[in-house]
């Protein structure tokens, strides 16, 4: 067998996804980082809950980089002398819960409404689009303030408010994509072979739109984290003693000139989480696209 044939065979059999991941260094690093975050999310508050709330006035605004006060103070201490690293780990649960839940809910709701608006069009579609217009023309922060003021600020309400304010983006993108995809021949072909509208929408259109939405989702992830932090900063988001990275940034802002690390590390955590999400979603998009997957599957020379 010639090498070309062998290669074709390998591609046909398909390389398992974990081997593809191992080949891509950035994607691997991103996946590992997200795995660590996930571990923090699962067990962080149980392991470090105490360390994150115990005060140590001698370690107030302690600069990072010294092990003098134990390894928990490696990243320094906050304004009340609490361990930065412990607080970062504990905050990961709230942060990720709020951010993930709101973007996922926004994507699901926006995606479904967008599919309907794009496919059915006219009457129902117009109503949905005007609804999106109203949501977008209303300053999202104001909306959040009003809602959270009327209801009480809690994690659930925060998620609902953030999900609703982020939804129009998913809705518009989905609708725009559906308008294009529904004109493609395979949609006609499907209905010529007896596919119902429901079948076409779910089996032919939705899978083509999904990767785009997932990409937006990862970008939105960071926006939502920051939105949550501004709400927390205004005092209607997460309430202390609960913490999130966004709240930590907001609290550290007062000490920027004396103790930059108070705002820097939670900011870094937000950025790294977002970056990892972006890299991994980009990788996922290529892997899940049958026409692009070969780019990852074709072994590079160095792998031989």
């Amino acid at each position: 067998m010639t090498t070309a044939e062998q290669e074709a065979l390998i591609i046909r059999r398909g390389v398992p996804w974990w081997r593809l991941l191992a080949r891509d260094k950035f994607a691997l690093a991103a996946a590992l980082w997200l795995l660590i975050l996930f571990a923090c999310f699962l067990v962080g508050p149980e392991l470090f809950g105490k360390a994150a709330t115990s005060l140590n006035l001698r370690a107030r605004n302690l600069p990072p980089g010294s092990l003098e006060h134990g390894w928990l103070m490696f990243l320094g201490g906050d304004a009340l002398g609490r361990s930065m690293i412990a607080r970062l780990i504990v905050a990961s649960r709230n942060t990720l819960t709020v951010a993930l839940c709101s973007v996922v809910f926004a994507m699901i709701a926006g995606g479904i409404l967008g599919l309907i608006a794009g496919y059915i069009g006219r009457g129902v579609g117009h109503v949905i689009m005007r609804f999106a217009d109203i949501l977008q023309s209303f300053p999202s922060l104001l909306l959040a303030v009003v809602v959270l003021y009327v209801l009480e600020p809690s994690v659930t309400n925060l998620i609902v408010v953030l999900a609703i304010t982020r939804m129009p983006i998913y809705l518009r993108v989905t609708r725009a994509e559906v308008l294009e995809i529904r004109e493609r021949v395979f949609v006609d072909a499907s209905s010529a072979l007896g596919g119902s509208s429901y079948h076409i929408l779910l089996r032919h259109i939705a899978p083509v739109v999904a990767p785009t939405l997932l990409t937006i989702l990862t970008v939105d992830f960071s926006i939502v984290m920051l939105a949550e932090s501004s709400l927390s900063f205004l005092g209607i988001g997460i309430q202390p003693p609960e913490i999130t990275w966004g709240l930590m940034v907001a609290q550290g802002r007062n000490y920027l000139s004396q103790a930059w690390w108070l705002a820097f590390f939670p900011g870094l955590a937000i950025m790294l989480a977002t970056l990892s999400g972006n890299i991994l979603s980009n990788w996922l998009r290529i892997v899940s696209d049958p026409e692009q997957r070969w780019r990852l599957e074709t072994p590079r020379k160095s792998d031989e």
Binding site: V185, D188, A192, G194, S196, P290
Partner: protein, 329 residues
């Protein structure tokens, strides 16, 4: 003939209405096809042949497309009058369609085996593993080598001819009585064209299926069809058995079309291209639509729409000079 034709299209008229103007895409198309027969619809681009096919499958979106007259009967059932949901039940099971470009008519994000199996699943014929197995069988039947492995491949991993075979496999999956092939070989090169036409022919013979073949290729018509309907500017201007129509046309347009095709066997006479281009369907010329390009045209052609002239058994032409063309050609 007492037998009900599988498909009977009668004086079909389709308009596309936009704000400013109305485009008369089809202005009276009539043809029929019986079980086990192939009827070809022949015409240039823009002659309304594909729109006719889409109208039969009810794929046209309204607006902008409106059926303004005529009927379509599938085995005696009035297709255009029944609710769309009910017609969709016939689609795939009793009537199927093959499109010109198989690359765009297959979904890029699913493997072809999955897509064929999905057809069995949505029509409730087979489920799960059985559907997958039947998909592989079908791929084998349309001549795809190593079907079990290939069924896991995606559309872009197939060559043009193989893709069209996949599309045909989907179309014949549920054993339809009528197959509409909309330019099935136009995107393919000549040798592959011949293979695909052969495949379609053999499938048609196997199951006594009726086939409507839409094409602009005279060669394909001559090889594969029993009857032909020649369309120009949205009208069927001539129809009849293929051998007769092509050897002795009765419409000036058919004659002009034949004159413009090069012969492969040796050097023939001078080619006579049809001068000008097909009319703007929003402004169809008065009288016979072909008159500005016709070398037989006289005053009457510019004034009056020609009547149907029965030339011989089963042959009709709509031309003022049918006799002259018939005897001259």
């Amino acid at each position: 003939m007492s037998e009900t034709p599988v498909l009977k299209v009668d004086d079909l008229r389709i308009q596309f209405r936009s704000g400013r103007e109305t485009v008369h895409a089809v202005n009276g198309a009539s043809f029929q096809v019986n079980a086990g027969e192939t009827a070809a619809i022949l015409g240039e681009s823009g002659s309304g042949k594909s729109v006719t096919a889409s109208a039969v499958m009810r794929l046209l979106q309204s607006p902008p497309a409106y059926v303004s007259g005529g009927t379509v009967h599938f085995k005696g059932l009035d297709v255009l009058a029944m609710p769309l949901d009910r017609w969709r039940e016939y689609c795939g099971r009793d009537v199927a369609m093959v499109f010109q470009d198989a690359l765009t008519s297959l979904n890029p994000v699913f493997s072809v085996g999955w897509q064929i199996a999905e057809l069995f699943r949505t029509h409730g014929v087979a489920s799960g593993k059985e559907a997958d197995e039947r998909a592989v069988e079908l791929l084998e039947r349309v001549g795809i080598p190593d079907p079990a492995a290939r069924s896991k491949d995606y559309t872009h991993q197939f060559s043009g001819g193989m893709r069209q075979r996949v599309m045909i496999a989907m179309a014949i999956a549920l054993g339809p009585d009528l197959l509409i092939a909309d330019e099935p070989t136009t995107a393919l090169d000549v040798t592959v064209q011949a293979q695909i036409m052969e495949l379609l022919e053999s499938l048609r013979e196997e199951s006594d299926m009726a086939m409507v073949l839409i094409t602009h290729d005279l060669g394909v018509v001559a090889d594969a069809a029993d009857n032909v309907a020649v369309m120009y500017a949205g009208r069927v201007v001539e129809s009849g058995p293929v051998a007769e129509v092509l050897s002795r046309p009765g419409h000036a347009y058919t004659l002009a079309l034949l004159d413009s095709v090069p012969q492969a066997r040796g050097k023939g006479g001078k080619l006579r291209p049809i001068i000008g281009s097909p009319p703007d369907l929003a402004r169809i010329p008065k009288g016979c639509a072909f008159n500005p390009r016709c070398r037989f045209a006289t005053d009457i052609c510019r004034q009056e729409v020609p009547p149907s002239v029965a030339m011989a058994e089963g042959r009709v032409a709509e031309c003022h000079h049918a006799d002259q063309v018939f005897n001259d050609g």
